[in-house]
């Protein structure tokens, strides 16, 4: 019964989304604020109705109501409670519902938050958000409903995919969707700007926090996905350039370009069309990503059953949204002759443009790589794989270029930089890079990428430190305080800038982690019996026991490995080979020990019946820097969002 209430709520939400669009259009036509208000009511009601829909599904999962097809397909009587809630978005239908639920939440928040200050924009916002919700709700109601009943009622469910039974995977989809959907708010404001012809800087300033928030969610979502892959998939890597991963990475890249490029418009009132273009591309890529993942056009580990009809619907819907957005941009850009004032090639605005170029080329590379097999197959019936070796090879130079620009951009003045000021700002960072390279060469590191990467990281890091040191000193002098108080004063005086610098530092830390853990990873695979040991790096792993353990819905063989460094016992690692009961799916559970900012990563992929275990040890140096960098980036972004409002904003 409850599930029918949920189903009904979602259908009503669909009807209301049409009403929302209609009242928004009427509000624009008649200029009667009552229509706008009823549009606001529609959006708010949609949010409540979708909450009911979500809750009814959660209820069905918690009560293990296997008469609901979606519940029967994605859970099981033995599935732990924690994961029954997460199972709501464990499958195709539920994750679409989550998508549109988050969209309705954000739309409602945006409408109420900006109602007073941006009355002229609101009808457009309501129209765009309702339209996108309408598209997704149609998909849910007509083509992939999570509310279908199943007759006869099965005794038990099929269980949630064991790989998804993991804490990181519980948070990964909501975070990712909050990122995708978060970009819909600046997108709606951009559409409002295009349709209303108010192409000033206002929409950018108003949506700046939304953009930053969306970017943070997307970043967190991507990192969580990587973290999950790292310890759940059992090969010790965190990024496989899988089409689904790429689908989330592309909007991130263009979104990051947009995040930077809006600064130019805020400060110098230039590149209006360009910023509109970037936000449209960002949101389009979010939608295309959803299409790629949900339609089965690209087969991937995560891919869902191919269903051309469903795919065709998503394609038409996504195509319509993108077509309207770009159409409006093209028509409007004819009327928009933006005055560009550029004093010098060596200026911050110019660096931002090159930053944008690099980000867009990076996004285009991922896009092309992801679609290339499809293109080739369509054109000449050949099939190739575009895998990690390709991306690693072509991405490295682009990433280095970006990092280099990151070291320059924030410290070069707007308008024009003089040679003298360039020397002053960058001679020390350049030197720092050189010193770093020499240090690494002395310690015996010869890999070209490692050296180039370290050079750029040291350069960019030094530039940040130098700049902040100088400004702290100036504040300290002015206030007559010590340098730390000066630093604090400087930070609070321009929290937006310096919180961004924290994010930049996070990026540098992350990059160091990536370089170290990809280039200097060591692994060893050996077959052994209880009592045997193997050595990897400075460590010895001794298999002392293999025994059976059982969880709620799985059984496992657990290997007990003692880890020694020299003669000292450091720790005990217990990797498992699990079999999930309901689906008989095997998974490999890794055991990890953190040491010296790196990981000892151990899996036991096979145990034969006669007791021979295959053990796989991996040393991932500095891998903690990858996750630590992510945390620092997040900290920077949070400080950015929470900065006190200034009068002009």
């Amino acid at each position: 019964m409850i599930i029918e209430i949920g189903h009904f709520s979602v259908i009503v939400a669909l009807v209301l989304s049409v009403f929302g669009m209609a009242s928004a259009v009427l509000a624009l036509k008649t200029r009667n604020p009552d229509w706008a208000r009823s549009g606001r009511m529609a959006v708010t009601l949609i949010f409540f109705l979708l909450s009911v829909g979500m809750l009814s599904l959660v209820y069905a999962f918690i009560t293990r109501d296997f008469s609901v097809l979606y519940v029967a397909n994605n859970s099981n009587s033995k599935l732990p409670f924690f994961y029954t809630v997460a199972a709501v978005w464990g499958g195709h239908e539920g994750s679409l519902l989550l998508w549109v639920f988050i969209l309705s939440l954000f739309s409602t928040l945006a409408v109420w938050l900006h109602w007073r200050t941006q009355p002229a924009i609101m009808p457009y916002l309501i129209a765009v958000e309702s339209a996108v919700m309408f598209g997704f709700l149609c998909l849910i109601v007509f083509l992939s409903s999570p509310f279908e009943r199943l007759l006869p009622v099965p005794l038990d469910g099929k269980d949630l995919n064991p790989l998804l039974q993991d804490p990181a995977m519980v948070m990964h989809p909501p975070m990712l969707y909050m990122g995708y959907v978060g970009f819909s708010i600046p997108f709606s404001f951009a559409m409002a700007a295009l349709f209303s012809g108010r192409l000033g800087e206002e929409w950018i300033k108003v949506t700046q926090r939304w953009t930053t928030f969306a970017w943070m969610c997307l970043t967190t979502g991507i990192l969580l996905g990587g973290y999950w892959a790292y310890y759940e998939l059992g090969w010790g890597g965190y990024w496989g350039w899988d089409p689904v991963e790429n689908a989330s990475f592309m909007p991130w890249l263009v979104g990051t370009a947009y995040l930077h490029s809006v600064l130019v418009q805020e400060k110098r009132k230039m590149f209006k069309v360009w910023n509109l273009f970037l936000i449209i591309v960002t949101f389009s890529l979010s939608l295309i990503g959803t299409f790629l993942v949900r339609s089965g056009v690209l087969t991937s580990v995560h891919s869902f059953a191919t269903d051309p009809e469903r795919g065709l619907y998503i394609l038409l819907f996504v195509g319509t949204v993108i077509g309207i957005a770009f159409g409006a941009l093209i028509l409007r850009s004819n009327k928009l002759k933006s005055q560009v004032e550029m004093d010098s090639l060596i200026s911050r605005e110019s660096i931002f443009l090159f930053n944008n170029l690099f980000f867009l080329v990076a996004a285009a590379t991922v896009f092309l790589g992801t679609l290339y097999p499809l293109i080739l197959e369509t054109l000449q019936d050949a099939k190739v794989t575009v895998g990690p070796p390709y991306y690693n090879a072509v991405f490295m130079p682009i990433a280095l270029g970006l990092l280099f620009l990151m070291g320059i951009g924030p410290y070069i003045p707007w308008r024009k930089a003089s040679i003298a000021s360039l020397k002053k700002s960058f001679s020390l960072p350049l030197l720092a890079g050189a010193v770093m390279v020499i240090l690494l060469l002395v310690t015996g590191i010869q890999n070209l990428y490692a050296l180039a990467g370290s050079y750029v990281v040291a350069f960019a890091g030094m530039a940040i430190v130098l700049d902040f040191g100088k400004i702290s000193q100036l504040y300290a002098q002015r206030n007559g305080s010590n340098i730390f108080q000066g630093g604090l004063a400087a930070f609070t005086a321009n929290q937006r800038r310096y919180s961004s610098m924290i994010t930049h530092i996070g990026v540098l830390v992350l990059v160091v982690g990536i370089i170290a853990s990809t280039i200097y990873q060591t692994e060893k695979v050996v077959s052994m019996r209880v009592g045997d040991e193997f050595a990897i790096g400075d460590y010895r792993m001794k298999l002392t026991n293999i025994h059976e353990v059982a969880g709620g819905n799985w059984n496992a063989q657990e290997g007990v490995f003692q880890v020694f460094k020299g003669e000292n016992l450091i720790t005990e690692l217990r990797p498992q080979k699990r079999i999930y009961a309901a689906t008989q799916t095997p998974t490999t559970e890794s055991a990890i020990y953190a040491i010296n900012m790196g990981h000892i990563f151990l899996t036991m992929p096979e145990v034969s019946e006669d007791g021979v275990a295959v053990a796989r040890g991996v040393l991932n140096p500095l891998i903690l820097w990858v996750w630590g960098g992510g945390v620092i980036m997040g900290l920077g972004v949070i400080l950015n969002i929470l900065r006190p409002r200034k009068k002009e904003e």
Partner: protein, 186 residues
């Protein structure tokens, strides 16, 4: 934005739309084979039912249909009836041989499968997967047609049912068998 950029943008968007549209109807499992026209690799293996050694070489000069299957494979059960029907159709032709290849399977399971669903031709066991890898097999079921000269002429991934059945019997096997006297001399 000038005209040139606008046009480029529109063209890119249209191109993408067309690509995605075509991609929707494509079969993601379709993989063009490189083996058509090449020498069929020889193999040797025990018969699933009798244990006697079967090799491809002993059928030299005949049209051989190889069907890869496994007892755990759902689509193999789907095609099983039409596979038997296909054998019925050509089995009286002196130059036609049909062989099943049991892939990644346990012997008792495979034997049980054959007893349960019935069979009229022999099946080779692929013990270490070497045979399947030699034939570039991706999964089961997969079907190959080898001509009298020992060249691979046709490959199909997926069950042989419906249109595929008509195609393979009428357009692939039948012409090979009728053209046989002319080509045999070579």
């Amino acid at each position: 934005m000038n005209k040139g950029w606008q046009l480029t943008l529109v063209l890119i968007l249209l191109g993408l739309f067309a690509l995605f549209y075509k991609g929707l109807w494509g079969d993601p499992r379709h993989i063009p084979t490189v083996l058509i026209g090449t020498e069929a690799p020889n193999f040797e293996g025990p018969d699933v039912e009798t244990g006697q050694t079967i090799s491809l070489a002993q059928f030299k000069g005949k049209v051989v249909l190889l069907n890869f299957w496994a007892s755990w494979c759902y689509e193999c059960k789907v095609e099983h009836e039409s596979i038997l029907q296909l054998h019925q159709l050509f089995k009286d032709h002196p130059d036609f041989v049909m062989l099943g290849v049991n892939y990644q399977d346990k012997l008792p399971d495979a034997q049980h499968y054959l007893q349960q669903y019935g069979t009229t031709f022999s099946h080779v066991r692929d013990l270490k997967g070497q045979l399947a890898i030699d034939y570039g097999v991706y999964g089961v079921p997969e079907t190959f047609v080898i001509d009298q000269q020992g060249k691979i002429r046709h490959k199909w991934v997926g069950p042989i049912t419906g249109e595929v059945y008509t195609n393979i019997t009428q357009k692939v096997i039948a012409p090979l068998l009728t053209s046989q006297p002319a080509t045999r001399t070579s």
